[in-house]
């Protein structure tokens, strides 16, 4: 009997149209938990570095996290894993919504796609009945439209659908997978889905998900629910509104956008407009949001209402959350009405709300600077907003210049040449980042940007305040009920952090403290991605209801896997190292671990080197950012160590334990 998980994966060979239900090894749950953890292992075992993103041998894995479908509030995320066409590294992108629990109720933990279908198809999972169905009539349809059409044709209004739009079908490098309420957007995973000729995955499940120790588990769930209510009533004072509460940033609720509009950069991540926000704009944008927003909505089993149903005038209704509210607006130097309108098209086409607007702004910057000319944009309207719609159309259909832009700013710049590379200035690991350009180097953010493998800052930050509080008394008040810290020393780090003077950025927190802080924040995100927990109730906000102290209990009581804090930390480090190993094998190393050159005005090369050296050593990686043999064997990743030695990625560590003493013997791939 398996608890919380079902113990079965679906293996779908799209080339041959073959579908198998395969039992999984319960020992992997102990070592890698589930979700991202077990998916990283599958990628390691079955997708060697020679496999190109658009090869039939690339896998596309939809995984429900270990605790999805249990009563744990907010545990609803699907983790999609593949090799990204944009970064050429292992991509893992998450979406909330309703798909992951439904997959559990249907009796599966993961759906693993391989091969390439000869024609456009969708996968229909109805409990034990699983079939590939023709989707040629859905070619070119919007992602949201597709979901509705499939529900109608199957007469299954309760089926959950994740689909791609035209962008995915046309292998746009920043295409998303859309699920109505949520999307898995980063890393161009929608392009891989399109390359496999898979239009959608459709799930309906009516079976039970079981709990190992029911009464204990419910008690933990009730504590979480109580704490959510407490935190809703007690926002954290002294931080900006979107960081004060729980959930994804409450962008659909918050009208005051002074902070985003004046601190984030507009256009192609260029211009800070420090006096942008005023009463007129506040009134106008509030009216826009209130006239278009029909309802605040949530994902499965979550009270946080981070999303909203948006009905722009004259356009179909769609659902939005978080910061895509402003990305189009700010890239186009326009207003909220434009942003909410074009996001409707972008959602149907299925593109990443961070990358897409930046690619379009990048194209117009190249035009302004004569690197591209009017001839590259035949028929493009004169007005700014019309241009963005025109560009979106051309990118998602890969028409004209859109065919080049569809590869993202990094690859497009290389193709265009003539100095275009200078304009693709906001990338890390070839992927567009949030449009932030700041003054003084922040050592914590430096390490997070440099070493994050989820390629998005919001997916590594969270537990530690972003900036020091002005006065010691504020800091003392903050640490008073900060029980989430893994260790008391984190309170001291924060208490001593001053806005100015010796204990301020960039030299404080010191490199060893930075390593501790980043590691804590990263650990939280990696747990979430294995359990399927939404970052909004866990890794992203300050003082969340889920933390390192109650997670082991959730896993023990829920999945029946014996777990404590030590064992959990070991498991997280194991699969986090495995994610890195997948990327190391694909050529990623220290040379790639750089925030954009212009991210901060004031840079400190020596300090940055020390920060990175310290962090790598803390993680058990060598100075090139590659996990050492000792580290790999300590985590029972002997199969990785052996592969690295065989490939010459590592040479034998003098201090590595002899292989026979290594833990987890017999776990070689």
């Amino acid at each position: 009997m398996r608890y919380a998980e079902t113990g079965y994966n679906l293996e779908v060979d799209l080339s041959r149209g073959n579908i198998e239900r395969v039992e999984t090894d319960p020992r992997d749950t102990e070592l890698y938990l589930g979700g991202l953890g077990t998916s990283a292992k599958i990628i390691w075992e079955r997708v060697p570095p020679e496999v190109e993103p658009f090869s039939p041998d690339n896998l596309l894995i939809f995984a429900a996290g270990l605790l999805c479908g249990t009563p744990a509030t907010g545990c609803n995320r699907t983790i999609v894993t593949t090799i990204s066409p944009q970064t050429e590294l292992m991509a893992f992108s998450m979406m909330g919504g309703f798909l992951a629990p439904e997959l559990k109720y249907a009796g599966y933990d993961k759906v693993i796609f391989r091969g390439k279908s000869p024609d456009l198809v969708y996968l229909w999972i109805h409990n034990d009945k699983v079939e590939l169905r023709d989707a040629t009539h859905l070619r070119g349809k919007g992602a949201i439209e597709t979901a509705a059409l499939i529900q109608q044709e199957l007469k299954e209004p309760k089926a959950q659908v994740a689909a791609i739009g035209a962008a995915g079908e046309n292998r746009v490098f920043f295409a998303s997978i859309e699920q109505g309420r949520s999307s898995a957007s980063r890393g161009g995973i929608g392009a891989v889905m399109g390359d496999k000729n898979l239009k959608a995955i459709v799930v309906r499940g009516t079976k039970d998900v079981s709990i190992a120790k029911p009464m204990e588990f419910m008690e933990l769930c009730n504590e979480v629910l109580e704490y959510i209510k407490y935190r809703n009533d007690h926002p954290i004072p002294g931080v900006m509104p979107i960081l004060a509460g729980l959930g994804s940033p409450q962008e659909m609720k918050v009208h005051d956008e002074k902070w985003h509009t004046e601190n984030f950069s507009w256009g192609n991540s260029r211009t800070r407009r420090k006096d942008f926000w005023n009463e007129d704009i506040a009134r106008e944008w509030t009216e826009t949001m209130e006239s278009m927003r029909t309802r605040l909505i949530s994902c499965y089993n979550c009270p946080m209402t981070c999303g909203a149903t948006i009905s722009p005038p004259g356009m179909p209704t769609y659902m939005m959350k978080c910061f895509s509210k402003l990305t189009y607006t700010m890239a186009a130097m326009s207003d909220l009405e434009f942003g909410l309108g074009i996001a409707q098209s972008a959602t149907e086409y299925g593109v990443d709300g961070f990358s897409a607007p930046q690619v379009m702004a990048f194209a117009l910057e190249l035009l302004e600077n004569g690197i591209l000319t009017d001839e590259d944009f035949p028929g493009m309207p004169e007005d700014n907003e019309g241009r963005f719609y025109w560009l979106l159309e051309h990118i998602v259909h890969r028409e004209g210049i859109g065919d080049i832009l569809a590869n993202g700013t990094y690859w497009a710049a290389k193709q265009i040449g003539k100095g275009a590379e200078e304009y693709a200035h906001n990338n890390i690991k070839k992927h567009e980042q949030l449009p932030l350009k700041l003054s003084m180097l922040n050592p914590i953010y430096f390490i997070m940007y440099a070493t994050g493998e989820k390629i998005n800052i919001t997916q590594i930050e969270g537990q530690f305040p972003q900036a020091p509080f002005p006065k010691r008394e504020h800091r003392e008040a903050f640490v008073k009920d900060w029980f989430q810290v893994p260790d008391e020393k984190f309170k001291q780090y924060f208490l001593d952090w001053e806005p100015r003077g010796d204990n301020s950025i960039p030299y404080y927190p010191t490199p060893p403290m930075v390593a501790d802080i980043v590691d804590w924040q990263e650990r939280m995100h990696y747990i979430d991605d294995a359990l399927g927990m939404c970052a909004g109730l866990s890794s992203f906000p300050l003082k969340p209801p889920y933390h390192l102290h109650n997670y082991p209990k959730f896993i023990s009581a829920g999945a029946g896997v014996d777990m404590d804090e030590e064992k959990l930390t070991q498991a997280i480090r194991r699969y986090r190292t495995l994610v890195r190993a997948n990327n190391t094998r694909r050529g990623m190393s220290r040379k790639d671990e750089k925030p954009p050159k212009d991210h901060w005005k004031k840079r400190f090369p020596e300090l940055e080197k020390e920060l990175l050296d310290t962090y790598y050593a803390f993680k058990g990686w060598n100075e090139d950012g590659i996990p050492t043999e000792t580290t790999l064997r300590e985590f029972g990743l002997d199969y990785v160590a052996d592969d690295f030695l065989a490939r010459g990625i590592l040479t034998k560590d003098a201090d590595a334990p002899p292989k026979d003493d290594a833990p987890e013997k017999g776990k070689e791939a």
Binding site: M218, S298, Y300, P303
Partner: protein, 180 residues
Amino acid sequence: MPEEKKTKTVKTIKVDVDKCNGCRACEMICSAYHAAPKYSGNNPERSRVRVIREPLRDVYVPVYAGEYTPAECLGRDKYIIDGKEYDECAFCRASCPSRDLFKEPDSGLPLKCDMCEGEDEPLCVKWCIVDALTYEEREEEAEEDEKPEDIDVGIEALADKYGMDKIMDAVARMSQQKKD
């Protein structure tokens, strides 16, 4: 002389559809509570409350399982409220042959809300912290007895239609069946 008034407790779950966020926590916790042993599993398909949910049309209606009925209605109700058209039978609580709602997924046996008898409040309410579901209890005066006139009126109507003999036969046949 007036006799002492009898009272009964009326339990109400107030459903504010405007506040529903569509998360279905009510379905999840209902099915977990009614699992045997309690909380050993969950499956929204076994829930005695279901959210009729069509996000793009902004339709969110939590409906509770009521009485089982063996027959479909001859007519079906369709409501349009504030310009929003709701599905046929959307607000009906019956477990009936015309739809798959409120039936155990494996046995097909009907489900019925029991207000989580024994708990302080129904668990769907406890878990709905957006307050789309709230719980109220009130005491109401109980009717002494059923008014005899109601039965008389009904039987007279039937007798007019079918004749007294047929009614007598039917009553005799039904009471015999009950004994069997």
